[in-house]
């Protein structure tokens, strides 16, 4: 059995007015890409700060490769490379100097240091820009360099907070490719947070869905989607979708997912089998279906099932107050 990279048991971080992380347990296995998916303010960054020893957990336990973050922080720090969400590079010096600085901070010495920086520049594909001041780099280059600075001391675990936020699709692909390579060729373990469904789905081997400081589901993307219980059928009607929902529930025993203004989505075991029955049932009740289509469940449907709302709804709606609270709590703590 491979050693667990991160073991978290009942982790909680409470601020005065807020339970940012509220008793979560999970394990990150060695050499996997593990993603934390959730809306802003769900507790992702707080969890990362606990793992990277930037803040002390209120209760619970975290071990990184067997080292406890509270009792043995320096050992944990040496084994982690951390890429924060906000830009952590030194803007006013060159890319090479940023790598040099990281290497020195982590005690990488002399000739090893020089060689590693060279290799890193090659891996990042930025050898020709190494001596340019970071301020002149593109967003994607900065992100790659940040990942590079987190790697020069050869950590076993790379922790990234929203690694592709603000990048264009091209830049995003490059970062994904880099992370995949690190896992495959260098045996690194990656722990990342994201609020991007497709990133979680395509990049991560396993994900934990987190909302309001709690983990609501954990597994591979396929398992989680399978857990939704089948296919999603969306139908549009000009008549009252509420009525349609009631009919389908009663006559076909179909599970209703969401009811919109002119639409309705339901979860069925198999779309092929159920679509005729749905149309039949509705037309015999004089409800005209304008359009109908089936889709495989996405992580958004998974989020909906376990968190009880759409993730975007959490982002713009109820959570802005909480985000502000988190920020305020951090400032107070600082």
């Amino acid at each position: 059995m491979p050693e667990a990279a991160v073991v978290t048991v009942n982790l909680a971080k409470h601020y005065k007015y807020l339970k940012a992380v509220d008793g979560i347990s999970f394990e990150v296995e060695e050499n996997e890409i593990f993603g934390f998916l959730g809306p802003n303010g769900a507790g992702k960054t707080t969890t990362i700060k606990c793992i990277t020893t930037l803040t002390r957990p209120s209760s619970g336990k975290i071990e990184v490769f067997g080292a406890n973050v509270v009792q043995n922080p320096d050992k944990v720090r040496q084994s982690i490379g951390y890429v924060p969400q906000s830009l952590s590079l030194v803007n006013d010096v060159s890319g090479y100097e940023n790598l040099l600085f990281s290497a020195k901070l982590y005690g990488v010495q002399g000739s090893v240091r020089k060689e590693r920086i060279e290799r890193m520049l090659e891996l990042l594909g930025m050898k020709d820009r190494a001596n340019d001041v970071v301020r002149k780099y593109s967003g994607g280059m900065m992100r790659r360099l940040e990942i590079g600075t987190a790697l020069v001391h050869q950590p076993r675990l790379l922790v990234l907070d929203e690694p592709t936020i603000g990048l264009d699709p091209q830049g995003r692909r490059v970062v994904w490719e880099l992370l995949r390579r690190l896992v495959k060729e260098f045996g690194i373990t990656v722990f990342l947070t994201t609020h991007d469904m497709s990133e979680a789905d395509e990049l991560c081997q396993r994900i934990a869905i987190i909302n309001h400081g709690k983990i609501v589901a954990i597994g591979t993307p396929a398992e989680l989607k399978h857990g939704v219980g089948g296919d999603i059928v969306v139908l549009e009607t000009k008549q009252n979708p509420e009525t349609a929902a009631k009919i389908l529930e009663k006559e076909q025993g179909i599970q209703i997912s969401t009811v919109g203004e002119n639409s309705l989505s339901v979860i069925v075991e198999s779309a092929e089998r159920y679509v005729p029955a749905i149309i039949g049932s509705l037309s015999s009740n004089r409800i005209q279906v304008e359009a109908i289509f089936a889709q495989k469940p996405t992580l958004d449907d998974v989020f909906l099932k376990y968190a009880g709302s759409r993730m975007e709804a959490e982002e713009v709606g109820g959570d802005w107050r909480q985000i502000k609270q988190v920020r305020r709590a951090f400032r107070k703590m600082g």
């Binding site: 990277t52 020893t53 509270v70 040496q78 906000s86 901070l105």
Partner: protein, 254 residues
């Protein structure tokens, strides 16, 4: 202990590299002392009612202006630290396996080294303006040591105060609040004997007074009788501030 100094040196090195890439800060910082010497110095020097025991006013105030410019520069060490904290840049240092004190000491050392640049510039300006400075290598080495120590001392004070503040908005107000009394309740611009009694009492507790006295002795008067007291006062203040700053800073992160 070795790790502490080694990592402090790494922090210092980074700050100096930043400075080398962008020298505008250093250049802009030369303007203020020039203005103090040319405007304030030339007007105030006309008064001739300030008892300076025979020293021309411009010469009298030169060490004061030097101390002041190092003070202003050092106070911003803490300000930039708070910026870095709020921007998340400090996380890069905080998640590295280095002693917290190394971050404080490294930044404070930066304050000291930047102070040396100020000293060089003020020496040059003062010479151009005809101030006669003692050109004894030993004395000048001592000036360098005092400026370095002073930079470390007030950078630490600044780190201590700034890390106690929770928001960046409060920082600028506090900067004014600290620098004004430190500067004016000292012997930088006028002798302490001119002050009312209560202010004299304050100026004796002001580390700036000892710095200016030491610099004045080493640069202008050559009268070293008070130097041991001045150095002891400064050394004490430095130790206290470094300890306070490290303690306050440790609260950032676990």
């Amino acid at each position: 202990m070795l790790a502490l100094f080694e990592k402090s040196a790494v922090v210092l090195e980074l700050e100096l590299r930043k400075m080398m890439h962008d020298q505008s800060d250093i250049i802009i910082r030369t303007i203020q002392p020039v203005l103090w010497l040319t405007i304030f110095g030339s007007v105030f020097g006309q008064l001739r009612q300030v008892p300076l025991s025979g020293v021309p006013y411009l010469a009298y105030m030169t060490p004061g202006v030097l101390a002041q410019s190092v003070l202003f520069m050092a106070i911003f060490t803490g300000v930039s630290l708070v910026w870095e904290r709020d921007l998340g840049q400090l996380d890069r240092l905080l998640c590295a396996p280095i002693p917290r004190t190394a971050i404080v000491l490294g930044k404070a050392l930066t304050g000291g080294v930047k102070g040396l640049f100020q000293a060089g510039i003020i020496f040059a300006i003062a010479l151009v303006m005809g101030v006669s400075i003692i050109f004894n290598p030993l004395y000048m080495a001592a000036v360098i040591a005092v400026v370095l120590l002073f930079g470390i001392c007030f950078s630490s004070l600044s780190i201590f105060v700034m890390t106690l503040l929770k928001t960046r908005e409060r920082v600028m107000g506090i900067v004014q609040l600290i620098t004004m009394p430190l500067f004016f309740a000292s012997n930088a611009l006028y002798p302490i004997e001119l002050m009312p009694r209560w202010l004299q009492a304050i100026s004796f507790a002001n580390p700036m007074t000892y710095v200016v006295a030491a610099l004045r002795a080493l640069m202008i008067t050559g009268d070293l009788s008070g130097l041991p007291t001045d150095l002891a006062g400064m050394g004490l203040a430095t130790v206290i501030f470094v300890v306070l700053a490290s303690a306050a800073f440790r609260k950032i992160g676990a």
